[in-house]
Symmetry: C2
Subunit: 378 residues, 2 copies
């Protein structure tokens, strides 16, 4: 089982005011993770565009794998005999896998939710498959991730009260079954529960109550960043985070922008994942202290400066905006790698800076400066 | 001007028999190159799929840039103010650029060859351009390559005697003009001449005589690997190489397979370039001691072995055939990089082994073993 140490919890410190940021450490069989942390997404057994060494240099402490994708390709029938996901992809640090719930919502064809589980068709070849809460755990045990996620039903936005309650109820029932299955198997891997409840505070409260009644070693908030305005996402996170146990890691799934991360860390969230840094990199959008830049923009044609003059990443230490623009326009493979290295470094460095600020009891100031710097953008 | 030292020339040693291999060193302003050497192709300012550090680790001593491609994109109007190609792409070792002649044959639309030069349309946007032999040198001086190539007229196979003679004559006339222009500009960059003459020994002889009458610091054989059978390619190389000066580097352009390299080194060739290792890597074809393997093949699905158990490359040291197959099938960007690293390492290691064998006066044995190993392929 994982160990979660909490070194600071401003949510319990009346002197911290609005600041509810936390500083902690999760220790797993594959090493420890400082929180708050961002997890780069390695969908199908590789973080798109970068290598293990690139991830190390960017400061990655844990990566995420997508159970839905890995189950379909290469499949457990490959990953199991190859010794599990860590060995197969040659990654020896912690790994988290999701349950597939989000992909049933976003990607799979014709997903049908029953009491038993989810029937769906592969987005790759249309083949038919079935996930039960037990099977979702079983697959993740085969993958061998350090942190597994309970099967959930993720809704889009908007969703009616009726739809939301149905998804919430199934998510709770599946969480119980997944938990029982996990305990019965005596697995070393950890299993986190997921709170749903759509954009209704009442249902978020109900889901949090039901899910936290199960003794998971950590809890996630799912079903955010599914099309709702940012204000509503913040409102739901702000409402739900305090309903999760203080002494266990809190993870908001699939969020978000740098601004989202800073805001949500301030609300007491410990873990994040998002495809944004890697996906945007492949689309030529690069993060800097003062906002994002679009590297294909003509104004960078003769720009000898690095993407961000204060950035210590491999890309900024070696290459100009002009060269990155050229590589992107010429669709050179190196473009995707250099851009992804920069964006992942930006995200992971932002998390490191937040941890440092929390440690020095100046997170509120950090947050203020962070947003001020972005408002001053050129 | 470059310095060419020849440590061994079996072509001048009667005791060496059929073996005419040579061992040498070319020294340029950006460092030296051990010959015989293979030059990875960095078409448009990046060797597709790999970084500078990857190239270093693979043992690359010099890379090639394509003048036609770089002229069109990003263009001299970017590369010149950015301080030349070396600085722009962050590569500080030697670089060779071709003249564009091969791309007029293979890629450009509606190329029209006149006495003055070549009119052509960009394959990217159809825009019209003109290269004269002087302009080809001027562009390469702007790029700042260590070794520039004279503008030539490359023919396909088959070509009539009349076509071949016309191309040969223009190539000679352009070589003289390019040479005069180069001398008049007092450039530090070196300029090599190119022998043409199609698949006719008589015309190869005539072209070699005319081109070597010009005091270029090195000579290339162009117009091979343009669709002719391998036997004819070998016949032309075997006929032409001895017609080039002993005391200057000899370069066969655009060739070839590992078997080609071993055979042509045995005929006394010093320099090679080819897109084969990098292009084949992106198509999943990997080179090994016993021949090529197609990594998408189902038989590698559960294969825990590296591509080549005796290979010291990063890919073979870290990843299994099963993982490489998965990455390729899933079209992950990492696939292209890992495959390219392996293939380039294979090519550059093969050259290193040949240099070592020549040094130890056992190239003939090396060649025999090399071909025997491939015939024993599983």
């Amino acid at each position: 089982m994982l160990k979660f140490e909490l070194f600071k919890d401003n949510g319990k410190d009346p002197a911290a005011g609005q600041d509810r940021s936390r500083l902690g450490k999760i220790t797993t069989d594959h090493g420890s993770i400082e929180t708050p942390i961002f997890m780069p997404v390695g969908t199908v057994g590789s973080v798109k565009g970068v290598s293990r060494e690139d991830l190390d240099q960017c400061g990655a402490q844990i990566i995420l794998g997508n159970t839905y994708h890995l189950y379909l390709r290469p499949g457990c029938e490959v990953i199991e005999p190859m010794g599990g996901l860590h060995k197969f992809i040659s990654w020896d640090k912690p790994m988290l896998t999701d349950s597939g719930g989000f992909q049933f919502f976003s990607l799979a064809k014709l997903a049908k939710f029953t009491d038993e589980g989810v029937n769906f068709q592969s987005h790759i070849d249309g083949s038919r498959h079935f996930f039960s809460p037990e099977k979702a755990v079983e697959i993740q045990m085969t993958l061998g991730s350090d942190i597994m996620m309970s099967l959930d039903w993720c809704m889009g936005h908007p969703a009616t009260e009726k739809q939301t309650v149905e998804a919430l109820n199934k998510t709770t029932a599946w969480a119980k079954r997944g938990y029982e299955y996990w305990r019965s198997r005596g697995a070393k891997n950890n299993l986190f529960g997921i709170v749903q409840g759509g954009m209704y505070k009442e249902f978020r409260s109900r889901s949090a109550e039901q899910i936290t009644a199960i003794d998971f070693p950590g809890f996630a908030i799912g079903g955010l960043s599914v099309g709702e305005p940012t204000d509503i996402m913040y409102e739901m996170a702000d409402h739900t985070l305090p309903l999760l146990p203080d002494n266990k890691p809190r993870y908001i799934m699939g969020v978000g922008t740098p601004e989202n991360l800073v805001t949500l860390v301030g609300m007491g969230c410990d873990m994040f994942d998002c495809v944004m840094p890697s996906r945007n990199a492949r689309n030529g959008q690069l993060f800097t202290r003062t906002g994002t830049i679009n590297i294909p923009n003509a104004k960078f044609r003769l720009d000898e400066r690095p993407v961000d003059e204060n950035c210590g990443c491999y890309t900024c230490q070696n290459y100009s905006r002009a060269y990155l623009r050229h590589l992107y326009k010429a669709k050179e493979l190196l473009s995707y790698r250099l851009n992804t290295i920069h964006n992942l470094h930006y995200y992971l460095d932002l998390m490191a800076k937040m941890r440092h600020a929390i440690k020095e009891s100046r997170f509120a100031e950090f947050k203020k400066e962070f947003f001020a710097e972005r408002e001053s953008r050129a």
